[in-house]
Symmetry: C2
Subunit: 343 residues, 2 copies
DNA sequence: TAGTCGTACGAAAACGATTTCGCTTGCTTT
DNA sequence: AAAGCAAGCGAAATCGTTTTCGTACGACTA
C-alpha cells in the first residue's frame, strides 16, 4: 500500500470516467451504463462501479456530454434594466424555472447598449446555448436581437417588434382595471389617476384599463384626464394638489407607481384629507419598500414579475423542445389590499 | 448551381470546422490555424479559409475548445440576497470584470438555503467551472461552501469563516469615519448616531468608525451611545424624537442607512428643526431612490458595490491564473455630498 | 455432447476543435 | 544536376463521455 493511502491523492484535474473504470476494473462503457441506470449491467458490477465513483468523487463532465449530445443545457439571459427593480424578479423567476429543467443560466448585462448586446449574442452562440431570454424595461417594443443561427429567443418584460417572436408581458391593462374595480367595489365614485410619462406603453395601458372599468360603471376620470409626470414622489405631491383643485369631491386616486402613490398620499394629507377615510389610494408595482413606508400602508397592483420570468422560461423550454410559440402572452396582475383602501 | 444557391441552406445544427474545411478545400488543421492567427499558413490559403468561414457563419464551438483545454472559461455566481439591493450591483460589477476577461457567468440564486447552494455547487462542478463567486448580505461571516474538488472561491459582500478564503467587503468602518469627519469638517460638534440592529457586523463597524473619528476630535456620540433599531423609516422617525429629547443641542445625525436617514429627516422636521440649518444629516448606501426623495437630498456614504464585485472578479481571475490570495480585502467607501450637509 | 439462446460486458466510433509532427513541394545553393 | 532546406499543409491523436454493436460465456435443451 502506498504511503498515505487513506485519502485519495489531491489531484489538479477532476477524475474522469477512465479513472473510475480502472479502479472498478471494468470498461468506461460499463461505468457509463452503471451510473446512468442503463440495463444490461449485473447488480454486482453496478455496485462496484458506484463504489469506485463515490471513492473518487467522480462527477460526469457536462462539457463532454454537451459535445456528444449537441446540446449545452444552458441558456443566455440578457438583461437591460441595470436599475434592476423590475428585471431582477423576472430574472430570478426565470432562473428558478430553468434550473428546475436542468438548465443553467448565463448572465449577460446588456446595459441597453445594442453593441454590447450583439457582443453577448456572439458569445452565447459560440457557447452553443439552447436558447436566449431577453429581459428589460422599455417604453416601447424593441428591435429583435439579430442572430444568424436558429435558436429560440423569448422576450420577458419587453416586446419584440417582430410579431413572430414570443414575448411575455404583465397585463398592464388588466392591472389598471383591477385597481379601479376595487375602488368602485369599495364605494368610491370620483377616481383620479396620477401616473408616469405618457410615452410609456405600460402607462397608456394601465390608463386604458382604469378608464374602461370606470366607463362600465358610467363614470369617467376625476379631472377628466390622467395626470402625467415623472416617476417620482415629488410629482405625486404636486399632482395631489392639482387633483384636489380640479375635483373637490375626490374620493380615490389610482397611481401609476407606488412611488407616485406615496407622494400623492403626502400631498393629500398635507391638504388635510384622511386616507382611506376621505380618499382611497391604490399604487402599482407592490414595491414593498414604498408600500410599507407609506402611511397608511398602500394597496397596490402586483405584476407577478417572478411569474413573468417563469412563463418566459417555460415558453423557452417548450421552444427548445420543438414546441415553439409566437406572439405576446400577458401575465395577469394581482391586487394586494392594504390599509389605504380599507372601508 | 443548385436552386436557391444564393443563400446557404437553413441548417438545424451550427456549421463545424469540417464544413469550413470542405468548403475551402483544406484540412481542419489548416482552418484552425488560419482562423486563430497561427503561423505557417500562406496569405492566400488564409483568405480562402476566412471567406469560407464567413460564408457559413462559422463560430468555433466553445464546448469543444473547453473539452480540449480542460477549462470552461466559466465561473459560477452564487447569490444569496434575493432582495437584491446590495448584491445586484456587486453581481453586475463582477460580471463586467469577468466578461472582460472572456469569462462567462453562470447565475445561481442560492436563496440563503444551504441545501440549494450545495445543489448548485454540484451543478457547477459538473460544468467544470473555473471558479466560484459567492455574494450575499449577511449579519456575520458564513461557513464556506464545501467542495470536494480544488477550484478557487471568492466571497463578495460576505465573509467566509475560514481565514484562508478570499473575501471582499466594503470598508464599513472607514465609511463611518468618512461620514463623521465630513460632519466635523463642516463645523458640527454634537453628532447623534441612528442605525440598524447591533447584530449586524456592518452596523458595529460603522459605529466604530464614527466614534473613532469623534474621539480623535475629543468628542463622543450625542446621547452617549448609538440608537439601534430596525432598518426602517419608521424607526428613523422615532429615533429623531428620542435623540432630541436626550440632546437638545444636537446639530448632526449619522444614520446607518438612507432609509433610516429619511425617517430621521422627517422626525427632525416634525420637531421644527431645519436641515441642514439646524441639523446636518448623513446616510449610508447611496440608494438614490431614498437620497433623492429625501427633502433635502441626502448626503450619504456609497459602498462602491460595483467595485466590490470587480475586485472579487479580479481576485478570482488571479486565483484561476495560479496567483491565489487569501484573507479579507476591504474596498473603501466614498462620500457623496448633497444638500443635507451643506454649510 | 453439441447446439442455441440470452445476458453481461468491452471495443470502438462519435461529438468538434487544437496541436504535434511528418510529408510533400518547390526553391536555392553548390 | 543533385542535395539541402524551408514553407505550407495534412494525418492523427487528444480531450471525456455515450452508444452501438460485437463477443464471450454460462446455462439450458434436445
Amino acid at each position: 500500500m502506498p504511503s498515505g493511502g487513506g485519502l485519495p491523492a489531491r489531484r489538479k484535474t477532476a477524475p474522469t470516467i477512465s479513472d473510475v473504470a480502472a479502479l472498478a476494473g471494468v470498461s468506461t462503457a460499463t461505468v457509463s451504463k452503471s451510473l446512468n441506470g442503463r440495463t444490461g449491467i449485473s447488480p454486482a458490477t453496478r455496485a462496484k462501479v458506484v463504489a469506485a465513483a463515490e471513492q473518487l468523487g467522480f462527477r460526469s463532465s457536462a462539457i463532454a456530454q454537451s459535445l456528444l449530445s449537441g446540446r449545452s443545457y444552458t441558456v443566455g439571459l440578457i438583461t437591460n434594466d441595470s436599475f434592476g427593480r423590475f428585471s431582477i424578479p423576472v430574472m430570478l423567476g426565470a432562473e428558478d424555472a430553468l434550473q428546475a429543467g436542468q438548465i443553467a443560466v448565463l448572465l449577460c448585462d446588456g446595459r441597453d447598449d445594442p453593441i454590447r448586446e450583439q457582443h453577448y449574442v456572439r458569445t452565447l452562440a459560440a457557447r452553443r446555448v439552447d436558447g436566449i431570454v431577453v429581459t428589460g424595461r422599455r417604453a416601447d417594443p424593441r428591435p429583435p436581437v439579430t442572430l444568424d443561427f436558429p435558436i429560440p429567443v423569448v422576450y420577458a418584460m419587453c416586446e419584440s417588434t417582430d410579431p413572430r417572436d414570443a414575448s411575455i408581458l404583465p397585463d398592464d391593462e388588466q392591472g389598471g382595471r383591477l385597481a379601479v374595480e376595487h375602488l368602485l367595489a369599495t364605494g368610491r365614485r370620483s377616481v383620479g389617476h396620477v401616473t408616469g410619462p405618457s410615452d410609456f406603453r405600460a402607462v397608456r395601458l394601465r390608463t386604458a384599463g382604469a378608464t374602461g372599468a370606470l366607463a362600465r360603471a358610467g363614470l369617467e376620470l376625476a379631472g377628466g384626464a390622467p395626470l402625467h409626470g415623472p416617476w417620482s414622489e415629488e410629482w405625486g405631491r404636486q399632482a395631489a394638489t392639482i387633483l384636489l383643485r380640479a375635483q373637490d369631491d375626490l374620493d380615490a386616486v389610482f397611481c401609476g407607481s407606488d412611488q407616485i402613490a406615496r407622494g400623492v398620499a403626502e400631498g393629500l394629507q398635507a391638504a388635510g384629507r384622511k386616507i382611506p377615510g376621505d380618499v382611497a389610494l391604490v399604487g402599482f408595482d407592490n414595491w414593498t419598500v414604498m408600500t410599507d413606508a407609506c402611511r397608511p400602508p398602500l394597496t397596490t397592483v402586483d405584476m407577478n414579475l417572478p411569474l413573468v420570468g417563469k412563463r418566459a422560461a417555460e415558453t423557452l423550454l417548450a421552444a427548445i423542445d420543438g414546441r415553439a410559440s409566437s406572439g405576446t402572452e400577458l401575465v395577469p396582475c394581482r391586487l394586494v389590499v392594504r390599509e389605504s383602501t380599507r372601508v
